[in-house]
């Protein structure tokens, strides 16, 4: 098995600050960036903090920025770098650093709670649900999401714009709204919530989220744009407008 030495630079530090630390490290054939981080832990940096679980691109834990690009460390093969190319690994920029490569992703859990949940159709008992494959597939695409938060990290609305965070749920949770809206049996209407409370209007469809999605979900084209269209349909329908004026929305 062939192996070589590679130049790694890993950000080490905590909320108070930190720096890039250089590590020469052995790389073997077939390895991914996460393997190298683990090798550093086992050798010279026992306390190097990193999140990971499945090591197969299914859990979305090991998100980081590799040479500036948001990626899963377990799905970034070392063979994609030239042998003399420096590999720089830094934590996700949009979330506060806890230590080294680990960030506080609590923002996402807060936003998850702001999306009105699935509302089952009344009068349909468990076991009586009937849906066509073609109809469930639209939402199924969004349910492939592994919640790696790379899209949340990349979106320029909140990346370097802390002030937008309270008003903007981010692509992952706007897509969650789309998923529920396209669920064949869900009975709730979230079009006002998504515009007023979750900040769909901030999105100007630059597709950065789609580009970094490791599941290749077409977030912008299949979720965000159709949601914008649905909101517009509702807002600019004169009858709906009149109805909203006369009967104020109750509950949510």
């Amino acid at each position: 098995m062939s192996s070589h030495w590679h130049h790694f630079r890993v950000w080490r530090g905590d909320a108070d600050g930190g720096e890039l630390v250089d590590y020469p490290v052995e790389v073997n054939e077939g390895e991914v960036v996460l393997d190298i981080i683990h090798r550093l832990q086992q050798t010279e940096a026992q306390d190097l903090a990193v999140r990971w679980n499945c090591k197969a691109g299914k859990c979305g834990s090991c998100s980081a920025e590799i040479n500036g690009r948001p990626r899963l460390m377990c799905m970034t093969r070392m063979s994609t770098f030239a042998d003399d190319e420096v590999v720089t690994v830094t934590p996700l920029r949009t979330f506060p650093v806890i230590r080294d490569l680990v960030t506080d992703v609590g923002f996402n859990y807060v936003k998850a709670r702001e999306v009105p949940s699935f509302e089952p159709p009344p009068g349909l008992a468990p076991g009586e649900y009937r849906m066509q494959q073609v109809d469930v597939e639209r939402s199924q695409e969004f349910r492939k999401c592994i919640e790696c938060y790379l899209c949340q990290n990349t979106c320029h609305v909140v990346r370097d714009h802390e002030e937008n965070k309270p008003a903007f749920a981010g692509p992952r949770y706007l897509m969650r709204v789309a998923e529920l809206e396209m669920h064949p049996l869900d009975v709730a209407d979230r079009r006002s919530d998504v515009q007023d409370d979750l900040g769909l209007g901030y999105c100007n469809i630059t597709k950065c989220c789609t580009e970094v999605c490791p599941e290749h979900i077409k977030i912008t084209d299949n979720a965000l744009i159709p949601m914008k269209e649905r909101v517009v349909d509702r807002r600019f329908d004169p009858l709906v407008w009149l109805g909203d004026k006369i009967f104020r929305r109750t509950g949510s």
Binding site: M1, G30, D47, L48, A56, G57, R77, I98, R99, R113
Partner: protein, 656 residues
């Protein structure tokens, strides 16, 4: 020193009180927590990683439930029989019965939480074929069923929190998730020396938060363990870092018992190349959807490995096997779909005989069997996994696969109906509990197990709390001892202890090489000697630095659990002198009916030793026994045991 002074001296320990604490946030833990909350209990969920990342996401193939959507002949009785056969009749039959009867309801319930399974033409939940299941039975979403189930349960918890918010103004008033938190001790009453056993009850637990290392205690009269498996004790495994046998070890140290620890499932198809992904799972759905196993001669070798007990149910020619995919009623199943233990042993034999693939596995071929479009549609994440990790296009070339440590059948001994262990207030569900799967688990029976027994444990815990007159109190001394134990790896550093990563690798190597897929008495005796040495080294492993997200410290504490569990596996594996399911003895290659009715029960002796006793199984209830034909039972049972069967009548009308 007075208690007060001692307490002053010790670390600050964050304190919480709950009715029910669920340790583990995979399918079983989340389903248990949902049930406890629905029963009105204040419930905490403790997750070792981030909420929603649990190992359940790795489950690919599906969730077995006899809904009869794909074949109306399916029923709970057929599912029950398949499960018992798969486990070689060593299963806790009551658990297998409850599981077969309730799995369908639990799957349908997920749809009311918003789950979106793949559909049949008439709009019902689609079901796929899997090894050991008579009919297509696995509800699925492509090959990412586990992700769908974890996300659905996670989102149900969020929706319950939203309900609580509307009622109380606080999302976390009834259901709170403590994430990146590891539990290191359980507290019981009556645990001190000389305390009467009958006073022992769960009182709470202790742990630390991974991010900043602060300590936390939960005072709770009921604890549900749902911590999953033990695969990280092995070198080649499909399991994530979380699978360090925490629940198994916590239960042992709290006075509970483990059963069936000799039975480990080596999944037949793990990736074998590249080395960094060795062990990662290749779903059984590849075979369920038509994939076949070939050796280096291109031969479909599984036809040579059909054991006698399964001879009537499996095809003997490629033609018949291929016809089965379209006409299952008139043809027998392809042998690639034998239970996992059989397939894993067959692959092992082919590789040993020199007919393996270049990287020491065999070939799994779907490319020559299905169109590229079909493969990408049915097996999207496998396509993705091989493309991105191994640079192999599975629509064009075969995969290389070999056995990987995947699942532990053994676990905490529990009451089948409510999931309570022998320690009052301590419950267990999912992979960390034992009995349901006997000596070998069928694919698809894990996700359904999580749902059925997760719910039952949540209910059992709630009822147990209702029946208590007073809440057991946590002893201050126990908390101090827990702090000291957790800090030990730092104080050991001054004595020059070893790096935990080094000791861990040694443990993995020992278990892999000496208590692996094929076992021999002398090798296992050697393993026990090595484990005694590793025990000494584990006690003194040392870590550098601080408690903030320090992986060395985390591993040092997990290592203690892995060691205790490995001791149970090795001790039970030496004791059982037969081959059955996930326990294969080179020196005792046959299955022996005199061993079927015996359970090996482990309990802890101090910090790092175990005691093992034999216990008789409770005989199967008559009406369940009668679901099987006498001829089949003869292959598993002793003559004396068969006297209970409805001998004589042919048992028609049971389906088959």
């Amino acid at each position: 020193m007075t208690d007060v002074a001692k307490h002053m001296k010790s670390e600050t320990v964050e304190q919480h009180e709950y009715d029910v604490v669920v340790i583990g946030a995979g399918g079983a833990g989340l389903r248990a927590a949902i049930e406890a909350r629905l029963q009105g209990k204040r419930t905490a969920i403790i997750s070792k990683s981030l909420f929603g990342k649990a190992h359940t996401v790795m489950a690919e193939g599906g969730c077995a439930a006899a809904m009869g959507n794909a074949n109306p002949n399916d029923s709970w009785q057929v599912h029950y029989r398949d499960t018992m056969r798969g486990g070689k009749f060593l299963n806790n039959w009551r658990m297998a019965e409850l599981h077969a009867k309730e799995a369908a309801e639990r799957v349908w319930e997920l749809e009311t939480y918003g789950a979106l399974f793949d559909r049949t033409k008439d709009g019902k939940i689609s079901q796929r074929n899997f090894g050991g299941h008579t009919y297509p039975r696995l509800a699925h979403v492509g090959d990412r069923t586990g992700l769908e189930i974890i996300r659905t349960l996670q989102q149900k918890i969020v929706s319950l929190q939203q309900e609580d918010f509307r009622a109380t103004g606080d999302y976390e008033s009834y259901l709170r998730v403590f994430q990146e938190c590891t539990i290191t001790e359980l507290f019981t009453t009556g645990s001190g020396p000389g305390a009467p056993e009958e006073q022992r009850r769960v009182a709470g637990c202790f742990g630390y938060f991974r991010d900043d290392g602060r300590f936390v205690r939960f005072d709770a009269p009921a604890i549900v363990l749902a911590t999953g498996g033990v695969g990280k004790s092995y070198q080649v495994t499909s399991n994530s870092w979380e699978y360090t046998g925490d629940g198994h070890a916590l239960a042992l140290r709290a006075g509970a018992t483990l059963i069936n620890m000799e039975f480990l499932q080596f999944h037949p198809t793990g990736m074998v190349w590249p080395p960094s992904v060795k062990g990662i799972l290749v779903t059984e759905s590849v075979r369920g959807d038509g994939g076949v196993l070939r050796n280096s001669d291109g031969k479909r070798f599984m036809f040579d490995y059909i054991p006698d007990v399964f001879r009537e149910q499996y095809a003997t020619s490629e033609d018949e096997a291929d016809r089965w995919y379209t006409d299952a009623d008139n043809n027998r199943r392809p042998p690639e779909l034998l239970p996992r233990d059989e397939v894993a042993r067959a692959i092992n034999s082919e590789v040993k005989a020199g007919r393996g693939s270049p990287h020491g596995g065999v070939f799994l071929d779907i490319a020559s069997r299905k169109s590229p479009e079909e493969i990408q549609k049915r097996l999207p994440s496998m396509y993705h996994q091989f493309k991105e990790l191994a640079d192999v296009d599975i629509t064009k070339e075969p995969m290389e696969v070999g056995p990987t440590c995947h699942y532990v059948m053994g676990g905490i001994e529990v009451d089948p109906d409510n999931g309570m262990s022998v320690v009052p207030g301590l419950f267990a569900a999912g992979e960390c509990s034992g009995g349901m799967h006997g000596s070998n688990r069928l694919g698809g029976n894990s996700l359904s197990d999580l749902l059925v027994f997760g719910r039952r444990c949540g209910l059992g815990a709630a009822q147990y709390v209702d029946g208590l007159r007073a809440r057991p109190a946590v002893a201050v001394d126990d908390v101090d001892a827990a702090v000291d134990r957790a800090m030990l790896p730092f104080s050991s550093a001054t004595d020059g202890g070893e790096n935990p990563f080094v000791v861990h690798l040694e443990l993995q190597k020992t278990m892999h090489e000496l208590v692996g897929i094929i076992r021999k008495a002398d090798e296992m005796e050697m393993a026990l000697k090595k484990l005694a040495d590793i025990a000494t080294r584990t006690r003194t492993v040392s870590v550098e630095g601080h408690r903030e997200f320090n992986p060395g410290w985390h591993l040092a504490l997990d290592l203690r659990n892995m060691l205790l569990v490995s001791l149970c596996v090795a001790r039970a594996a030496v004791e059982r002198q037969e081959s059955r399911g996930g326990h294969t003895r080179d020196d005792f290659p046959a299955m022996d009916a005199d061993w079927r009715h015996l359970l090996l029960v482990c309990s802890a002796l101090g910090e790092d030793d175990v005691e093992l006793v034999r216990r008789e199984q409770v005989p199967m209830r008559a009406d369940l026994f009668d679901l099987f034909e006498l001829d089949e039972l003869k292959k598993y049972y002793t003559g004396d045991e068969l006297g209970e069967h409805r001998a004589g009548s042919s048992g028609q009308g049971n389906g088959a």
